[in-house]
Point group: C2
Chain length 566, copies 2
């Protein structure tokens, strides 16, 4: 591509309304333009990157035996009512009413549509297994679309759906997709990690998320450095600690006049934060619940919600707290409640001795607290906290480390939830109508573009992994109109690289070197070659890898061997 | 592709609810499945064909210098209000309200969005010309979606938009796109015709439609067999005939007791239909209008609406007719009106002598009518009829023939309508802000698939033009499980063809020859090769072109030379 015939528009200034680096750089590089809240136009430059990602996704899905198809964006309410998701999906489902007052939605995902296709097209176990996928626009009406294409409302998703007569077959395809995703993200040149994930509202028996690792990632991931264990912190189990130590201190009331947090109390008392206990007041199905976690731990809301009676829990109001504990927030604790309450202790708390809790009295905490002696054993002991770095790995091998990630892929063993709800059956080998087991497998194609930038950038701009770059190499011409020889040499090199199969651009825009190089660095082309009068005289080209600090002077042979890896 | 690993599902019976052959065959071949009214899922087979069309469109658009980008499907009302199209587009515009009660639409076309992109990205004549295109889903909320993907509500369109400082530049790009479309439809192997078209509501200075020729086409096309003239009948000019002949008959009233049509009157009187005149009663801006066309001609509504005061004309009601002509429909004419009326005569009628019209009296016509003598000259003489076969070509070369077509492409020289409405300017060479001239260029990608079938089918199914076929060739194996040698030979041939670059399928489904061949014919694969035990023994393959009546026995060399054209 000759850049004089392309459309590039870069900006030096960081846009004021872009909060994260990928959004800033995508706007500065002119990859996307905002059309409305959460709606982005992909410029020619942005689309080149998007298409590279799509191509890798398609190649690997095809290689894995999945078959591409395409379902409409607009789907009828009736289908979504068959599974109850017309209501359950909530306001993220963009609803549409047509001229005949019929209801539709702009599809955020296509379990219903693909199951409808399947039940019309497939009848027998002989036609299975099958894995059908599409790469299409999806829509989620996010309440607060932000971060550019990272959390846009309209986005490109690859979604695949597999159908199986038996669970074993589903497990085999699940593994196949897991391996396929691993190949996709490896081929894209991304540092990523697959982690076990919560199956959440979609349900099903197994689920893994694929995360691009980046410090700015919204998700926290836990993994063992000595084994393959990896899980989203939402899910990662905090294993039970050793047995509780014996009491060595007496219960005592301590003055904490303004100390309302565990940190402040520990500092005042001169003790480790790990000796304090945080009391979190909740309201569940059966009323007031006090959840206890160690002062240095954080409550895990997803784990809490899995406990009996807490599926739809909320934080208790101050009135509820005063009624049950007779105290103000900041001084709460499990001892001396005014009314019966349920006490749920994290495993770590249940194993503590001589600990500190709020006294249920303003300005006071209790220290030297011990289970059994100073208060009854907790009503329930459970894993209700996030793991922290250094926790033992749940698989018993090594300790956990933490990383942050951006979710770009998700594989689910769905089971029969959709096929049962939609009365979708096939005949098995015995001639019996059975509901097929399903898997679903998503990749956030447009999000990958942003995630790759979060992971790969520097002060000058984007540093694309080569497989995602808009072009692999660019040949820059200094003063093309002023020197025909230079222009011809650049043209010849450009053509030679193209013919050798290298996706190459020719920067023949005639910019001065400063702005030209700044553009090329900003848009992140992996290899830059400069053809200049001086170099031509010396028989050399100036070569610089985007990731390198310096440029090198290479003769023709060395240059070609570098670029074409031959 | 091994068909055992693919998903094919064909049907023998013609679906009852499919009215046209392409819809019937697409359903029977399992290319699409209806999800809801006007919404179709593309099966893996259908998608293969769609992708082939898309690929040709993209290649030729890129070759022509257009640059691909992608705009969101969901677009904000504010943009559409800038051009007034939020209202003007009418109920075909699918409107959407999001969770924040903001209004959007599912884009049927993207003049507004691309102009918005352009005005943010382009500032100077130096960046022009530019032609931006996308291949995306569009939506038109058709009141009566029908004919499958031929007139679906959600469909795939390639839409391109070019921007120019000067009109000459626009004309150059218009021509470039015209030539590109010609290449696209030629490469797709379709019989097509480009015709001058009415610029209609979109406005602009020039417009051509590209039609796939098919007897079932909704549009009538007129073209000269001896020159390049071609136009939609909506637009094609019926040239003025020679001078009017002199009167030879006397005016006389004739009994036509039940003869209300020109055909019946001509039959009764024993004269040529061309001697009769049809009177069409209309109601325009200034009241009653009588439009006169020759008995064998048809009024052209688009031409009529271009006359002064008739932009929004309608047919007159019977009450209006009785009030102005004092007669019932069937016996109307221009002589003896009860109230002042405007008479618009088609050019052919104005040149007639001794003609027959209704007498404005039930049961009677007037014969031997002559202008000037029996009634005043018409208030207006204009071209208000459809051309018919045999009319002189408007370019003066030869006579017109008619054909029917399916519109699959449209190029428009839009001018400055959108850039002015949206206050989009660039600086010209003199540093002055000017509104760029625009062109827009659409191709109905998904409709091409149906149109190709309308044009290319036989009693056994689809006969794809090779460039659109899901596969170029299929290797059929008879009894693959029963004979390892046959299976191995088929496999070897399949691999050899693939490696030679021929998009080949292997039919290893193990069907009996009858159903297997019926499938292959129905889905229209251009080349079929059968590997059988008997053939293998004789050293031959059974080859049949989809378009051929018979199969041939070819040895390996002859087969390869036929398939690979070497």
């Amino acid at each position: 591509m000759r850049l004089s015939q392309f459309h590039l528009r870069t900006e030096k200034e960081t846009p004021a309304d872009a909060e994260i680096v990928s959004h800033q750089l995508m706007l500065r590089a002119g990859m996307v333009r905002r059309l409305a809240a959460g709606l982005y136009t992909w410029s020619p430059l942005g689309l080149r990157v998007l298409r590279k990602v799509e191509a890798v996704v398609r190649e690997e899905m095809n290689r894995a035996g999945a078959i591409e198809m395409a379902m409409p964006s607009v789907q009828p309410k009736e289908l979504w009512e068959e599974t109850g998701r017309w209501q359950k999906f909530g306001p993220q489902l963009l609803k549409i009413r047509d001229r005949k007052e019929q209801d539709y939605c702009f599809t955020p995902t296509a379990e219903e549509a693909v199951t409808d296709f399947f039940r019309q097209e497939f009848a027998s176990y002989r036609q299975l297994p099958v894995n059908l996928y599409q790469v299409t626009s999806k829509f989620r009406d996010e309440i607060r679309p932000r971060f550019g294409v990272m959390r846009a409302r309209e986005f490109i998703m690859k979604d695949a759906y597999s159908f199986h007569v038996g669970d074993e077959d589903l497990q085999r395809e699940y593994r196949n997709m897991y391996d396929t995703y691993t190949r996709i993200f490896t081929r894209l040149g991304l540092k990523f990690r697959a982690v076990a994930a919560d199956t959440g509202a979609i349900g099903g028996s197994a689920s893994h998320e694929f995360h691009v690792l980046a410090d700015s990632g919204e998700d926290a991931l836990a993994f063992s450095e000595t084994s393959g264990y990896a899980a989203n912190v939402e899910l990662a189990e905090a294993v039970a600690p050793g047995a509780r130590a014996g009491a060595t201190e007496q219960l005592r009331k301590v003055d904490t006049p303004v100390q309302k947090t565990c940190e402040d109390v520990a500092a005042l008392l001169g003790i480790a934060l790990q000796r304090t206990v945080k009391s979190v007041a909740l309201w569940g199905e059966d009323g007031f619940v006090l959840a206890l976690v160690r002062g240095d731990h954080v409550v895990n809301e997803i784990k809490l919600a899995k406990l009996a009676g807490l599926a739809d829990y909320r934080l208790a109001t101050e009135a509820e707290i005063r009624e049950h504990l007779g105290a103000e927030p900041g001084f709460l604790g499990p001892i001396g409640a005014k009314r019966p309450i349920r006490i749920v202790a994290d495993r770590a708390v249940a194993a503590m001795a001589d600990f500190v809790v709020g006294a249920n009295e303003s300005g006071f905490h209790l220290a030297g607290v011990n289970w059994g002696r100073d208060l009854p054993e907790p009503d329930e002991v459970a894993d209700i906290r996030n793991v922290v770095a250094g926790d033992p790995s749940p698989d018993g091998q090594g300790t956990l480390a933490l990383a942050r990630g951006i979710e770009v892929g998700h594989v689910f063993a769905l089971g029969r939830r959709y096929s049962e709800a939609m009365q979708c059956t096939v005949l098995d080998e015995a001639g019996k109508a059975v509901h097929p087991a399903m898997g679903c497998y998503g990749i956030g194609v447009s999000r990958i573009v942003a995630a790759a930038i979060e992971q790969n950038h520097d002060a000058s701009g984007i540093v694309w992994p080569a497989p995602m770059a808009p072009w692999q190499a660019v040949v820059c011409v200094i003063n093309p109109k002023g020197n025909a020889e230079v222009a011809a040499a650049a043209e010849a090199l450009y053509r030679e690289l193209l013919e050798a199969g290298l996706d190459t651009a020719l920067d023949d825009r005639g910019l001065r070197p400063g702005p030209m190089f700044a553009d090329i660095e900003l848009i992140g082309i992996p290899h830059r070659v400069v053809v200049s009068e001086r170099g031509l005289a010396a028989g050399t080209f100036e070569y610089r890898a985007r990731s390198a600090a310096e440029s090198e002077s290479l003769d023709r042979e060395a240059l070609l061997s570098r670029l074409l890896a031959r």
